[in-house]
Point group: C2
Chain length 219, copies 2
Amino acid sequence: MTKHFVRELEKLKKKILSLGALVEERVYLAIKGIESKDPDLATRIIRSDYEIDETEVEIEEECLKVLALYQPVAIDLRFIVAVIKINNDLERIGDEAVNIAERIQSMAKYPNISFHFDYTEMAEIAAAMLKQSLDALVNLDIDTAFRVITMDDDVDNIQGNAYLQIKQAMREHPQEMTYLINLYLISRHLERVADHATNIAEEVIYLIEGEIVRHGKYL
Amino acid sequence: MTKHFVRELEKLKKKILSLGALVEERVYLAIKGIESKDPDLATRIIRSDYEIDETEVEIEEECLKVLALYQPVAIDLRFIVAVIKINNDLERIGDEAVNIAERIQSMAKYPNISFHFDYTEMAEIAAAMLKQSLDALVNLDIDTAFRVITMDDDVDNIQGNAYLQIKQAMREHPQEMTYLINLYLISRHLERVADHATNIAEEVIYLIEGEIVRHGKYL
C-alpha cells in the first residue's frame, strides 16, 4: 500500500462520515418535525436534500478514481466497494427524511386532531442505528455492527404497534383519514431508515468477516 | 482488454440478466397473486426468495473477483460498479415481491370484501420498467433508459389514484380496515418496484454518458 493510497482511503473515510453526519442531521430534523408538525422545518429538509445528493455523487466519483488509480485488492478493494454501497444507502436515508417531511407538511393542515402516536422511541432507535452503523464502519467494529442488526427488531415491534393503534383510530375517526394515513406512513419511513442502517451494518460485518451475513445467514 | 477479461464481462452480463429474469418472474407471480388472492402462490414467492439472495451474493463476489484480477479502468470499471449497484436494486425488487406476497396472505383471510382496486395497469407498467431497464443495460441503450424514467410518472399517478379511492373506501367501510390497509400497501410496494427500475435506468444512463443524471439533473 503506497502512502498516497493510504491518504486517499483516509480521505474517503472522512467523506463518507461527513455524508453520514449530514444524513443523521436530516433524520434528527425530521424527528423534530414529527413532534412539532412544523411545515417550515419540513420545507427546509426537502429543499436541502440536494446537498446529500451532490455529496453522494462526489463520493462515488472518488471511489471510482481510487479504484482506477490504485487498483486495490483484497480487503482494500472490499472496503471501497462497501463504501460505494453504503454511500447509496445513506442517500436513500436522506430520501426517507424527505418523505417524512412531506408527510409532516400534509399533517400540518390538520392542527386539531386529537389522536397522537408517539414516535419518539422509534425515531431515536432508528437514528441510533444509523449513528452506530457508521461508527462500526469507521472502527471496523463487528460487535457494534451486530448490535445494530438486533435493534432492528425493536423498530419493527414499535412499527407493528403503530399499525394496530392507528388502524383502530382510523375505524373510530374516519373523518380524520388523511391525517391518520400520513401518520401511519411515518412509521413506515422510520422503519426504512432502520432497514438502511441494517444494510450498512451488514455491509460492515461482510467487510470484516469476508463472509456472507446478508440475508439472515448469520442467525 | 484481454480475451479473458472480455469473457468475464460476458459472463457477468449473462449472470445479472438471469438474476433480472428471476426477479421479473417473481414480480409477475406477485401480480398474479394480487388478482387471485391465492395464499399458496404468495407462500411460494416468500419461500423462493433465498434463490434471489444467493444469486445476488454470487454476482457481487464475481464483480470483486473481476476487479481484483483484471483491474479494469474507464468504461469497464464503471460497468462493473454499475453491475454491483444494479445487483443490489434487483435483490430489493425481490424483497418487494415478498412484501406484496405477505400482503396477499393477509388479504386472503377476507374473501368477501366488496371493494376492489385494479392494480393490473400499475403492475404491468412496473414490470415493463424492470424489463426495459435491464434491456437498456445489456444493449447500453440510452433511449430505452430514458423511457423507463418517464414511465415512473405513470406509476406515481396510479398510486395517487389508489390512495384516494382506498382512503374513501376506508371511510365508508371502517370494519374492513385491515384488508384496505393491505390493499393500499400493495400500491406502495409496486411503486417501489418502479423506483428501483428507475434507479437501474439512471445507472445505465450514467454509465453511458459518464454524467450525473441521478437526482433529476437531466430534466
